[in-house]
């Protein structure tokens, strides 16, 4: 078991690098699906395309997947609930509302939309948190879950109103696309905007990965094992949400990665977050990258990324849950 875990991690690392390198040559230029690597030496346009468009986009896709997979694993443990996903505390719906509001009222410039989305993502979290503090029902975890559901519903009804009010020819398609998630138009500026938030956050979560196990125990037990339960939970939650809000603000709502990838990781290497968290991050990164490759390559017009992540995520999940890998641990 131990050896196979290390091999899997090394394998995923190699696979991730390979996927990143191959993805550079996948696309619809100069012809659909594949660009011969030699073209980079000959063609100035190819160089421009790869370094200014494809590279930042690939890196963003990988970071997006790592963040959603990792933050999903962290949040599921923090909330002691395997059905939680990283945006559920009002973060995803808040970001969607912020983006829709910006598209309608201000401008559809990417930076404006992303900034508004990030602001509302945090607003969503703050609402959820404040509401949970004032609920008079259940324990802390249950109150946060309930508050998250309520605030998400509030923002999604807000999105509904904005869509209703939007110009159906100009603004509505833009909002719809944003809500389905996608990485078109990503530039180095976006990478420079999310990397300083996402990379330290992921690194900290990775460092604290064994400690995470303790926070999945009941409060009494965690306390008796020396955990400052409230403080440590708040720290890890803030870090995960900050990273999630950052990536969601440039990508839109990309569903299912944060929910499913942690499950797959746990099925592969066991519950212990010492092993499951790195696997969830790498798996998420590879998964998002491959889905994004398909989204931008398969058809002439780009398909929103969220559609592919849901499609393949659900299929992969069902397949793995029925397979021998899942049964071998029982």
């Amino acid at each position: 078991m131990k050896v196979w875990r290390h091999h899997l991690l090394a394998f995923l690392l190699a696979l991730g690098l390979l996927a990143l390198i191959l993805s550079v040559f996948v696309g619809r230029f100069p012809q659909p699906y594949w660009m011969p690597p030699t073209l980079l030496q000959e063609n100035e346009l190819a160089r421009q395309l790869v370094f200014n468009l494809r590279l930042p986009r690939l890196l963003t896709a990988f970071l997006l997947g790592m963040t959603l997979g990792g933050a999903g694993a962290v949040m599921q443990m923090l909330f002691r609930n395997p059905l939680v996903e990283p945006g559920f505390l009002g973060v995803s719906q808040g970001a969607g509302f912020g983006a829709a509001l910006a598209i309608i009222k201000i401008s559809n410039a990417p930076l404006v939309v992303a900034t508004s989305a990030a602001c509302f993502a945090f607003l969503g979290l703050m609402f959820s948190y404040a509401l949970a503090r004032n609920l008079r029902y259940g324990g802390w975890v249950l109150r946060l879950v309930l508050a998250g559901i309520a605030v998400s519903a509030l923002f999604s009804s807000g999105i509904g109103i904005l869509k209703y009010a939007a110009d159906p020819l100009k603004q509505l398609p833009e909002i719809t696309f944003w809500l389905l998630g996608g990485l078109w138009g990503i530039t180095w500026r976006d990478v420079l905007y999310i990397a300083p938030i996402v990379l330290p956050a992921l690194f900290l979560l990775w460092l604290m990965r064994w400690r995470l196990n303790l926070l999945s125990l009941s409060d009494d037990t965690a306390f008796s094992l020396g955990v400052a339960v409230g403080r440590e939970r708040a720290l890890l939650l803030t870090v995960s949400v900050a990273a999630t809000a950052a990536v969601v603000s440039v990508s839109g709502i990309v569903g299912w990665i944060g929910l499913i990838v942690p499950h797959i990781a746990r099925r592969l290497v066991g519950t212990d977050a010492q092993h499951a968290l790195p696997v969830a991050m790498l798996l998420g990164g590879i998964f998002a990258l491959v889905c994004d490759d398909l989204a931008r390559t398969l058809f002439v017009a780009e398909i929103p990324l969220g559609i592919f992540t849901s499609l393949f995520g659900a299929m992969l999940f069902a397949g793995l849950m029925m397979s021998n890998v899942a049964r071998s641990r029982e």
Binding site: M1, R80, M208, W210, L217, S224, G226, A228, G270
Partner: protein
Amino acid sequence: MKSPILSLTDLCFGYEPHAQVLRGVSLDILPGTITAILGPNGAGKTTLLRLILGLLKPQHGTIYLEGRPQKTFSRREMSRLMGLVPQSEYIPFDFSVLEFVLLGRAPYLGPLDMPREQDRAIALEALRAIGLEHLRDRATPSLSGGERQLAMMARALAQQPRLLLLDEPTSHLDLSNRDRVLNVLRAQAREGVTVIFTTHDPNLAATIADYVILMRRGALLAAGTLETTLTAENLSATYGIPVRVTRVDGQLFVVA
């Protein structure tokens, strides 16, 4: 006379401001002894345990651990001093039994540390002591209630505390496992670990305890050595029904 590892002075506590669950509890516990906290359901036994653990803050009175006020202990110091075996625990993820027991090493690891080889050895030793070694790779949710209770016990042993708190430690155990747990507790006490457990079963106290604390409605009715405290008179007052105490093979036996 050794100095007490745990002293409570005039402890008062209530979950609501005017409904006190504990009223003026004072007692001293000596190191290396086994103490049973005995009383009917709702007497405040678990609340007392949670106060000692530091999960609840007393409204009045002070808790001293090894002569120092509880407030002055850091979280890490406290977790090295005291371990808890809860009555039951909901485990949402399928940790293997060994991974679960390894979590007991947390007090000796920094926030960024991974368990080391020596921690694994200690966890395995704890599993061996509790007789659960053959289940080390099983997923915890697939364990029976009794096996899970043993796993929680093994985790507390891996924690190597000087004061071991147990809440109804044998509630899910069959006869042979109960016997095994009692032997482990005796062995711990011989090595100098102080054991405090709650129970509503007077015969469990009679089997293993050196000292008995009788509680009813948040107050101490009686406290002292097993022989002097576990009397028909005291037990009748504790449970509110007539109770007889006899001897079977030299050991006290309580019949209601």
